[in-house]
Every structure is written in C-alpha cells, then in structure tokens.
Symmetry: C2
Subunit: 590 residues, 2 copies
C-alpha cells in the first residue's frame, strides 16, 4: 500500500472542498462518459464519487478504465463541490466528488456469482456459500452494526447497575434435557464426553451462591435439535442473575433495560410499567402465552351461552368443561365463502377440527351456524358483539381448554395478518406471569418443568406439589415483544428440600438427581442466597430491533436449517487418526 487512507468513504462534505484526501474501498459502480470515468468508491462508512478525467491525466484515465466492480483501490485526489445539478441528495457525501490525482489497485475481483443489488433473486444457499459477498450488502452491514450497538448498550447498562460479567465454561457436563446436548469426546479421558451448554443456568446459580450478587454475560448457547425455520444450533443470550431479589425487582430492572435499549437504538420512548398478563389471561384473551398486543381482537368466551344448547357439538364441549371462544371481526364483514373456507382449512393444518362461523349483516344474523342456534343463543351472542352491525363471527370449540384457546390464538394471528390489523410501527411489550410450574406430557406420561427444574414454585402453593401438581404456579415471567418471547426467567429454588421436592414431582429419582445435579444440590446447603434471573434471546432481539425478517440476517455466519455451514463446509469428515485419538468409531445408523 503506497497510499494511506485519510478519510472514510462516508465523511466528506462541502467543508472538505479544496483539500487533498485519500480514500480506500471497493468499486461500487463505474461508468465511462468518454474522457470522464466515474466510480463510486464504497467502504463500511459510505460511498463517495471519484472522477478520473482524461484532460487531467490521460494515463490515469486509461488505467482507471480497467477498474471493475468490487476491485479494491486507494484513491488520492482533490475534494471538490459538485455543481448544483449534479448533487446527489440520497448520498451522505452527495455534495462533493473527488478529482483523482493518483490511485492504486490493491486487489482485483473476479465477476461475482451474484450482483449485490440483485441478491434477492438468488437462492439463499448461494448467498450463504459466498457469505463474504452477501455481507457487503448495506442491509446486512446495518443489521450487524445494530447488533454491535445492542451488545454495547447491554453491557454498559448492566455494568452501570453493578453487574459483573463473568465467563462460564463451554466444555461442561450434560444437562437435564441431555438429549439435546452437543457432545464433545474427550481425548484425555477416552469414553467420556463434555457437553456444550444449552444455557449457563447452573453456573449462574453457583455464582450467586459464590456471592457475586449480580451477574451477566452475553453468551453463546447450543441446542442440537431438528431445526425449525427460525432456529440456529448455536445462539446467543443475554444471561442475567441476581441475589436477594423477588420477581418485581427483576421485572422492574429489565423494564429499565428495555427503556434504554429502545431509546438509544430506535429513539423510541417506551412506557413503563410494562403491562403484565397472567398466563391464564393471556390464554383466555389471546390464545397465546406470547400474545401480539399491537392489535386488539380479543377472544370472547361464549362457553356459557351453549350449556343448554340443542346444538350438540357445542353443548357437549360446554358440558365437558371445554372452551368455546369467538372472534368478532367487523373488518371481515365482506369475507366470501371462499375466504371463510380458507380459514377453516388453515385451522385444520394447525391441529384443529375446523371453524364455525356466522355473519351479522345490518344487525341481522346470516349464514353459517346461525340456523343451528336458538333465538336466545343468538341474542346472547349479539350482546357479546358490543354493538357491531356488520361483521364475521368465528367460533372454535374444544373440550381441551388450552387447545381451544391456542387454536383461537392462531386464528386471531391469521386474521390480523390477512386483514392487516397490525400497526407495524407499534411496539407492544408485555409480561406473561403466573405460569403453571409443570406441564403434563401425555407421551411420556409424566410432568415436565414448564421453564426448567430450578424454577421456584409459588411457596404458598408448595403443599399442593405432591397431590395436585398441576395447580402449582411458577415464580416465572416471560417478556413478550410484538408476539415474540424475547426473554424468560424465574426466581430459583434456593433450598435443597424444595429442590428435591421438585425433582420428585418431575419423576427424577434421587440417584439421577445426584448424578446430574449433585454439585448444585450440595451447593444449596452452604449458604445459598435467594436468587433469580432472566435470559434474553439476543439474536431474536437483534432481529426485531433491526426489523430483519430472519435470524440469519443478524448473525454473521449462520447455519442452514439442517445445521450446515455452507461457506466453510462444516460439519465435515475427519481422519481415522483423529477418530482413534478420541477413542471412538463411526457406527452408521441403519
């Protein structure tokens, strides 16, 4: 490099006119106007127009004409104001251009496998293989810069609140949900394995027992599961734990954190306190424990209307402690038969039996199941419509309350999207609290922890844990942003007896508990303080704040849905020597 950069490509303006500068970067675009050769030179900071004039130097002009897209150059020249008509108001540096005095080609570029501007027409596979090119796009650069800022804001907020950032190990022990651990064979101890952590849960509790009082970490976690559309095998979380606190202390501090994040990143003032919904309310009103509150469209409970109904399907649901819910949608007044059928089909794809419907037209019931309802039932239903004259009523009924509400939640979300009820400029934050502690798994015929086995039950409900475990609530809380869970946490158990009771309820034997969590159980007996915490999904937060559509757009080197790294070609085969050293053999599944 003969020429040394004096400015970035994003900083020159009219005040620099008349000075000599040197820029370095990529040829973003070029055009030859016969005697004048123009390029835009680009770096992370912006673009600047450079002119090579044959009048000034025929030699430079001829040399410049060989430049092509994505060549790397250093340009030395004189900044000059552009004539009024040539100014480009869309460009940060659009008031000026550089008249080239000297330049150096630092590297060439082959023709790209896809143009940066037409990337959208190319398959994501191709773009992931050439990630270094895709990452040159300004939207991905912007996303990663925002992610960087979010990380700095986060650390500075928690550091300011007396939190200590402490690094926890990556080579750890297999955890409760062991089946989803990535494992690492040990060469020094053949036959034994480390596990990559799904979260530093136990370490952060240990740190509280060690007296660190307030801990945080922006930390990589790992989960080996069949990937859904928007999951990554490695993901990042903002991990937080505090001692001598209750739920309110944690929620209040996290609200302060959210305030700072939205203010500093998006210049948005969010209102606190953030509304809190119990799990029961969230399910009853929105059919989801992470409801999107950017729009209203509450579920209306109409179960009681049909207790005496002659419409058998509904009466049987009402009688069997089921749930019948309606969505009252004035915006869908003009829905066609075909549109209603489509909703019916949609509900079947998500596990429901279908949707009943009827319509109000100028205050009169029309079509669908209206003919199956008695006068009284129709009148009662009308009351629930709160004065609506025209609109569609959609009804789902199921003997399983949670399932019925979940289906209504899906339907609510589908309608909101179809009818564009969502004000995308809105920020809707809410807490979901008072979760059930346990969840019964029919397949395995046992209870599972809805959060994790270290979550404290509400202590006043502890006596129910043996006999009526489904009635016990957790001291847990999730933070929801526009229908996405962005954080989840709980007050932890800090007492060995309670922890053992919890393991018992989860059908984990004493032996298994000691083998898996022996050190934590033991630590609880050496002065464990009351403590609790929370973890934010850092990738998802970044995605939502950047307005990106996929986690892959806020991760520099993401993996595909089948956990492949296409650029570097991982995972890959290893040598026999390596296998031998690790004391393992391949054993292909048949």
């Amino acid at each position: 490099m003969r020429l040394k950069r004096t400015h970035t490509c994003g900083e020159l303006n009219a005040s620099n006119a008349g000075t000599e500068v040197t820029l370095t970067g990529w040829v973003d675009s070029w055009r030859d106007h016969g005697g004048l050769f123009f390029i835009d030179i680009r770096d992370r900071y912006g673009k600047t127009q450079v002119v090579f004039s044959s009048e000034n130097s025929q030699q430079l002009y001829e040399k410049a004409k060989k430049l092509r897209s994505e060549y790397v150059i250093a340009v030395h020249g004189m900044v000059r104001k552009r004539p009024q008509e040539a100014k480009n108001p869309d460009m940060q540096t659009g008031d000026v251009e550089i008249l080239c005095i000297d330049f150096e080609t630092l590297n060439q570029s082959k023709t790209l496998p896809f143009e940066l501007k037409d990337y959208a027409e190319k398959s994501e596979e191709l773009r992931l293989k050439y990630r270094y090119l895709d990452l040159r796009r300004s939207s991905l650069q912007r996303n990663l810069l925002m992610r960087h800022q979010l990380a700095q804001i986060t650390r500075s907020f928690f550091t300011g609140q007396n939190f200590v950032e402490i690094e926890t190990p990556v080579l750890t022990k297999s955890t409760p949900e062991g089946a989803r651990d990535f494992l690492v064979p040990s060469r020094m101890h053949p036959g034994k394995f480390y596990a990559l952590p799904q979260s530093p849960q136990q370490y952060k509790q240990i740190l509280m027992i060690a007296g660190f009082d307030r801990y945080f970490q922006i930390v990589r976690c790992y989960r080996d599961e069949d990937l859904r559309k928007d999951r990554q095998p490695e993901f990042t979380q903002v991990d937080i734990e505090m001692s001598f606190v209750d739920e309110n202390d944690i929620m209040n501090l996290m609200e302060a954190y959210m305030k700072v994040v939205f203010k500093e990143l998006l210049r948005i003032e969010i209102k606190t306190p953030i509304p809190r919904l119990t799990f029961e309310e969230a399910m009853k009103w929105y059919g989801s424990d992470k409801p999107d509150l950017r729009y209203d469209l509450k579920i209306v409970d109409i179960t009681s209307i049909f207790r005496q109904s002659e419409f058998n399907i509904f009466r049987s649901v009402a009688d069997n402690k089921g749930f019948i819910g309606a969505l009252v949608v004035p915006e869908a007044a003009s829905y066609s038969r075909k549109q209603v059928d489509a909703l019916n089909e949609y509900i079947k794809t998500v596990g429901g039996h279908g949707v009943a419907h009827l319509k109000l037209q100028s205050g009169t019931w029309q079509g669908g199941v209206s003919k199956n309802f008695s006068e009284l039932e129709l009148n009662n239903l009308l009351e629930k419509c709160k004065g609506m004259k025209d609109g569609l009523i959609l009804i789902i009924a199921d003997t399983n309350i949670e399932k019925s509400q979940q289906l209504l939640g899906f339907l609510r979300q589908k309608l909101a999207e179809d009818l564009q009820l969502i004000d995308t400029s809105k920020i809707a934050l809410s807490w979901t609290i008072d979760f059930p502690l346990l969840e019964f798994d029919l397949g395995e015929n046992r209870y599972f922890a809805k959060h994790h086995p270290f979550t404290s039950p509400k202590m006043e409900e502890l006596p129910l844990l043996d006999e009526q475990p489904e009635k016990v609530h957790a001291r847990a809380y999730d933070l929801v942003l526009n229908g996405n869970e962005i954080a989840g946490g709980s007050i932890r158990i800090h007492n060995r007896n309670v922890q053992e009771k919890m393991f018992k309820a989860l059908n984990i034997s004493k032996e298994e508990a000691i083998q898996k969590f022996g050190f934590l159980l033991e630590a609880l007996e050496y002065g464990a303080p009351p403590h609790g915490g929370i973890a934010f999904g850092f990738d998802r937060m970044s995605m939502l704040l950047a307005g990106a559509e996929s986690l892959r757009d806020v991760i520099a080197f993401p993996k595909t849905t089948s956990a492949l790294a296409l650029m570097e070609d991982a995972p890959s085969s290893i040598s026999e020597t390596q296998l031998k050293e690790l004391g393992i053999k391949l054993a292909p599944k048949n």
Copy 2:
C-alpha cells in the same frame, strides 16, 4: 424474604448514622461477648459489623446466637457511629456498626469443607470441587471484578475506535492444526464432525473481505492439547482485525489500547512508543523472543574470541557457526561452587550440556575454565566485562545458535530469580518483530509457519520463499509484558498467489489446501483488502494485571491440568442412546 436490602455491606459510613437500613449477606464471622453478639455481615461489596444486644431484645439476642459462619441473613437495624476506640480503620465501614432491630435467616450453611481464611492449606482439588466456596474469597472476587473491568475497558476502547464486535461461530470446520481441535459429532449428519475453533482466524479475515473494516471480539477459543502447568483447554482472547493497514498502524493502536488499560485499571502511565526488538536482537541479547526487560543482564556474544582458541570445545563451536554467549553477573560474585553446580544442573534439565564459569576477584581471573583460556582470550573477555572487578561469568556454547541463545535465556531468567534482580513494581512492555516466517521441524522434516499459514511474508523477500525459505521474515509482531507474550499478530496474505506459494513452502498440497481452506482461497479472489490483526491472551492479561499467580485464579470455573471440571464432574459418561443418536461407538485404545 420479608426484609428488603437498602444498602450493600460496603457502603455505610458515619454520614448514615441514625438511619435505619437493611443489609443482606453472609455471616463472615461471629463472637459472643455475653449479652452482646457481634457478627460481620459480608457481601461482594464489603463487610459491616452488626450488634445484637440482649438489653435491646433478649429474643433477638437468643435467635442471633444460633447464627454460624456462612449463614445467609437479612438484617434491619439502626446505623450508629462506633466509639473512637472501637473504630476499625482496616474496614471500609469501620466507623459504624448496625444495632439490629430485626433479622431474618434466609438460609443456613453446613460447616464448610475448608475455612475461607485457611484455604491455602487445602489442596487445590478440594477447592476446585467446592469452587462456589473458594470464589467467596476476596482475592478471587477482586480478580474476577478486575477481569470484568478489563473486558469493559477493552470493548469501550475498540468501539470508540470504530471497531465492530461480531460473533463468529463455535461449531466450525477442522483447521490446519487439526490434531488439536476439539470435535463435535453431528447428529443430523452422522459420521461428520464440527470442530471448536482454536481461533476465529479465518472468520476475521472473511469479515475484512466482507468490508467490515475493523472487527473485534472477546472470544472463547479451544485447544485440545496435553495441558502444561498454565494452560486451559478453553481460553479467551481479544481478537482484532483491521483493513487497509500496515504493521505500524496496528502496533500504534495497540499501544494506545495498552495505555488506556494500564491507566484505567492500575493508574499507571506507560511510555509509548513501546520499544521494538527484532527477533534476532531479542534472541541475541536475551535468549528469548519474549524477554523480560524488567532487568538488564544482557547476553554478551563472545564467539569471536574463541575462533583460534586451543580450548577445543569452544573453538569447534566458533568454527561451526555456533554461538558462545556469556552472562556477566557482578551480583553473583560470592556464588559458591555449590551454587554454580546448581546452575549447571538446571541447564541440563532444560536440554543443555552444562555451563562453563569463571570468576573475577578484584580484577583477577579465578577458577572454572579460566585455566583453559589463553592470556589474549582472558584479556578479550575482560574487555566484555566493562570494568567489573568482582563477579561471576557464565558461558554457554552450542553449534546451534538458537539453542545456545535459548539456554542463555533460561539461565538469565534463573539468575534473575535467584538474585532477585527483578523489580516487580516495574512494567516492561516490548514488541518483538521481524520473526522468521517459517520454522524447520526436524521430526516431520518440513517447514511450519512460525505464526500461522496466513501470515504475510515481507514482500521484498518473497522471491526467496522457494529456494531459501529460512531467510524470509514474517510481517508479524508479538507484544511482550514482563517476559510473557500477551499478544501476537501479523499482516495477512491478501493475494491468492502469495497464499498458494505459502502453502507450497509448508508442503501443503493444492488438494489439501482447497479441501481445508478452499473458501478463504476463493474469497481472496473477490476483492480482498490488505488487512492484518492481532489477538491478546485475555486470561494471561487478566492474570498479570491482577497480580495473580495462576490462570485458574482469574477464571471463574477453570479446569485442572488434566482438563477435568471437578465441581460439575465433566467430562462424564453418556448413555447408549446418546451414542447411537450420534452414530458413534466407543473404541477404547489398547
């Protein structure tokens, strides 16, 4: 928790006298003075004395008498000034105490397996098993807090310099030094493996090619090697990469970083520019590429004195292009025969044949090899002693120059320790530059990269790479602090042809190069900018700055030298089901 904390245990002073406060923490110590029960309550922030007086409340006093070390309590009480004679100037809060009005025992503690104060008498194994107790010691808390501060200072410095923090993957592809990779079997792609990165080297280069200009990350790296005393299988580095820069740009910026670190953490102003030694100078003068410059004791090259010597051993070394070096040590004038013998033995343990010695006593040569040297040789030697009248001269000779110098370096360090020549209050920073690019490995009979295969040779020496590769120097630089390498980096190759030449010199075939680094080679053809970087050993830096003696004292959950996690018991056995899922079998070595 009935009582809520109002203050930490480190913040009360005389100005709080007369106010009611609530503290939470651990019983650090207790003593019963009959009617008055005293405890020190401790948290991360400090300790405060609490008094339970039977006069005030017999009931509280009786309850307090049951408190034992490490119980967790919340104490509500009145702050009062201590009488002058009871003040404790060694305690931050030593001017006050709290008269207890109410308290709550939040948790009990069994008797600890070791007392926090007598920890040093216990084995490190025991302390690692109960790491949560050992971490309560104030020195470990202080170390981890300092590490936290170093991390924040680092991120804030680099963010302020326009660096972007970007997270790179942990599940990656096996790298050149593949034998030292930790491997992760893929469940979704049986028979294939991910590797944990030994450094994000290729990713950071890719980020430069993607145009991010300035990247940093405080990042975990992994190396599966037989652990030496002070190595950890997972370690943290401050990883840095910059585009459009040369060696000086990088070294200058890192000096600014060091200035900030020492200023903010230790209130020490370090002088810049930091001295730079070439590899050759460092070896010739100090026998090490990471010399401890807190003391002088330079090696004196006396090879030429012995070219015509009748002392065969030395003449043959001098004739065969070897190196004869001397350490001239006035401080060792009174060394006994036994002490000299010990040095001789020491040099044998580090691979040498031994040390020759002679003495100056009141300007006259005495003992050792003095009788083997000619008058002229002794006179020439005397000249090298620069006026010393009394002292010990130690000589090492070997036909292998580097080996000879290395042994002298070990001897120099040994003498400095024995004679306490090191001013431990000193900070000696230096750069080592102009390293050889390659290093010949006699065992494998081929060249290896001294730094790594992506390090740029000095371009003016590139023509030598085919025929005289040992003569080529690298554009590499290491930062040395008090004899420890704390950072190493280089300008990278940004041109595919040069990279291929380098692979050829390393005896890496085209096929192997493409299989292992194909994506990087390809990326070099799509507009790779000139770039370079550096990485700091974050654990080692933390250790040196904290004045700790072991890396384990600055890592929250370190592993033993045999890579075991004693607290959580990792690595551990896994189930047959898990093995099956991963498509592997155990194959014990015989």
